[in-house]
Amino acid sequence: MERRSAETALIPALQVLSYLFIALGALFMAFKAGSLPASRWEPMSAGTFPQIIFFSIAILCGMAVIFELSKHGLPRTTFCIAWRRLTALKAVIINLVLFTVYMIAMPIAGFIISTFVYLLTTQLYLAPRKATTVVLAIFVAILFSAGPYYLFSEAFNIYLPRAQW
């Protein structure tokens, strides 16, 4: 059995957790599929195919856990290492949060305003602090917020969301 250091065991530990999480989710879905009513017109009901798929996922996840544990043993890592890796992904997490806020704000603030604010905020967060980059960020934010809106509405008759006020 090959042992790993706490540092290298982080991803395998998370993978084992993901197998367990996916297996539980798949089992829940498989039982939900089983509760779908049978069809009078065909031998396979609407729930049979999903049931096969979700049970297969659960079985594969179970096999993956067994293989992992039999090959390398229980992967042992620490919260400290996990936290360090997570903080290294600060830029990704902040961008994901900004993007989620952008998606939520678009129906309310409309495409132009939400896109302008999102592009400007993200670029200013990621770009080096220089006067030229600020000017460039404002230019890019205006170009890619108003530009697509008018392109789609004028050229393709597709209307991107408008502000609700």
């Binding site: 031998p43 195919f49 798929i53 990704v92 952008y102 998606m103 393709f156």
Partner: protein, 508 residues
């Protein structure tokens, strides 16, 4: 047949369509040249722009982005030493040393002309192979179709990523996602849990954009491990002239390498899941093995550039063979092409070539014209691409993410798709970090409903399940699926044994 061909020729060669195709080819090259921006992303972002176009024009534009994108990776590979897309990894081995030796123009023109020849050869194979295969596919029953999809998914799962089991789990999760919403035969609502957002199901393009584009873009923001990205301006000096005639002569006088690499690319492209990211490396490896002076490979050998670029560009024709003949996309990029056709109410499958021959011919013609555009634009704008490679990530990432939101919204004009996009993007990034391959998942979403429809049709026709194993084509495909899994396990174990052997050798 002649009528359909002439209709297609007339449609594609309209001046406005040609102009759009030239712009699309340029956009494809630029997109693929920017490290972190993939061909699939470029094709996804083009899709909403084609909604208002006639089907022939829309498909021609999307194929132009595809063809341009397959050669765009060459620019960053040759000038920066960074593959713009996974399809140009092997190109860096020789094109970058050649550029550093003072011949960047020659490296680029060799790559561009090899890409052009590769595309043309792949189109020729596509024209010859797709129609007879489609005629054969029309005769397949639901048993064979179901078996074909099982085969495709096992091949994809075993070829992509490091772990077969995670590939299979990802593929099945994709199929599971596709079961949300109305069932494909009776329209019965499934797994919506009372949420209106799920009643129409999860559109596969939202999954594709979230899983592929968003996870890739977010990965670009991760701190780089070790070395700093070199700036192109500092690296490139020397002769930027293309020397095109000399290049054409060099390649055509020694045609074996370009033909072998192109045919290899076509074959690999036709296998679901095995795309240009594999073909360029295999073609390079074969060229090195066949060479009389393999020691020059990796030091600026022109044949290395030719092999890699013709190997990756020729996958486009190969990957369209299963799409046109069987209605099965082999890669996420092909899945978007399929969506572009379906948006116009045209169903994809073996009947496509029988019912819409003009559309299929227009695809062949568009690819050929896009290949010519790719060569011309690449050669003429060689110097300009050097500047474009310097677009900073802090502009590329948020702008492309905003474009992803536009693409998602315009698919169905549904705001709820935007919430789905944010959720799927976050999950996609997490799965990518945990080393789950995303291609099987995305293709699972596309292939899931086809698999379910055919399985249920098979049982509606006959409740005898042994038909899956007694009908010859179905049995053959299921056997191949099992063989692909066994082969994948065997290769993995062989690799582990080799690694253990090497470790033993180094410890002694």
């Amino acid at each position: 047949m002649t009528d359909a061909f002439l209709v297609a020729l007339g449609g594609v060669t309209e001046p406005y369509t040609l102009l759009l195709m030239a712009v699309a080819t340029f956009a494809g090259i630029v997109a693929a040249a920017i490290p972190g921006f993939t061909i699939t992303m470029a094709i996804v972002l083009t899709l909403p722009l084609t909604f208002a176009m006639p089907p022939m024009q829309g498909i021609a534009v999307m194929l132009s982005v595809y063809v341009g994108g397959l050669s765009g990776g060459l620019f960053s590979a040759a000038l920066l030493g960074i593959p713009g897309t996974p399809s140009s990894v092997a190109t860096t081995f020789d094109a970058f040393p050649m550029a550093r030796q003072g011949h960047p123009g020659k490296a680029l023109s060799l790559g561009l002309f090899a890409s052009f020849v590769g595309s043309i050869i792949s189109i020729a194979v596509l024209i010859v192979a797709a129609p007879p295969l489609a005629l054969l596919a029309v005769k397949l029953g639901p048993w064979e179709y179901f078996a074909l999809i099982i085969f495709a998914l096992t091949v994809i799962a075993s070829l992509v990523g490091d772990s077969l089991i995670r590939g299979l789990i990802a593929g099945l999760i994709g199929i599971g996602i596709a079961t949300i919403g109305p069932d494909p035969l009776m329209g019965r609502e499934r797994f919506t849990f009372g949420y209106e957002i799920l009643t129409a199901g999860i559109p596969f393009l939202v999954v594709l954009i979230g899983m592929y584009a968003m996870s890739q873009l977010l990965s670009e923001l991760e701190p780089a491990a070790g070395d700093k990205q070199p700036s192109s301006g500092a690296l490139i000096s020397g002769d930027m002239r293309p020397h095109l005639w000399q290049t054409i002569k060099d390649i055509l006088l020694k045609p074996a390498n370009v033909i072998r690499s192109s045919l290899l690319g076509v074959f690999i492209g036709a296998v679901p899941g095995a795309g240009s990211s594999i073909s360029n490396l295999l073609a390079y490896d074969q060229a090195k093995r066949a060479s009389k002076h393999p020691e020059t490979f990796g030091k600026g050998e022109p044949q290395g550039v030719v092999a890699s670029e013709s190997g990756n560009s020729s996958t486009v024709g190969g990957s369209l063979i299963p799409l046109i003949a069987l209605g099965i996309p082999g890669s996420p990029a092909d899945a978007v092409l399929m969506a572009a056709i379906m948006v116009h109410g045209i169903s994809i499958g073996p009947r496509l070539i029988l019912d819409h021959p003009d559309l299929v011919y227009s695809m062949f013609i568009a690819m050929a014209i896009a290949s010519v555009f790719m060569l011309l634009i690449g050669v003429i704008l060689m110097r300009a691409f050097l500047r474009l490679l310097n677009v900073p990530k802090y502009i590329v990432v948020p702008v492309v993410l905003a474009c992803c939101a536009i693409g998602t919204y315009t698919l169905n004009n549904r705001l709820s798709d935007l919430y789905l996009l944010a959720c799927i993007g976050a999950v996609g990034y997490l799965l990518k970090k945990l080393d789950y391959p995303l291609a099987p998942l995305v293709l699972g979403v596309v292939l899931g409903p086809i698999a379910e429809t055919n399985l249920r049709r098979a049982f509606q026709t006959s409740t005898d399940w042994t038909l899956f194993f007694t009908r010859p084509i179905s049995a053959l495909l299921l056997t191949l699926a099992v063989v692909s899994v066994i082969y994948s396990i065997y290769s993995y174990m062989k690799q582990r044994r080799l690694m253990a052997h090497r470790l033993d050798a180094t410890s002694k």
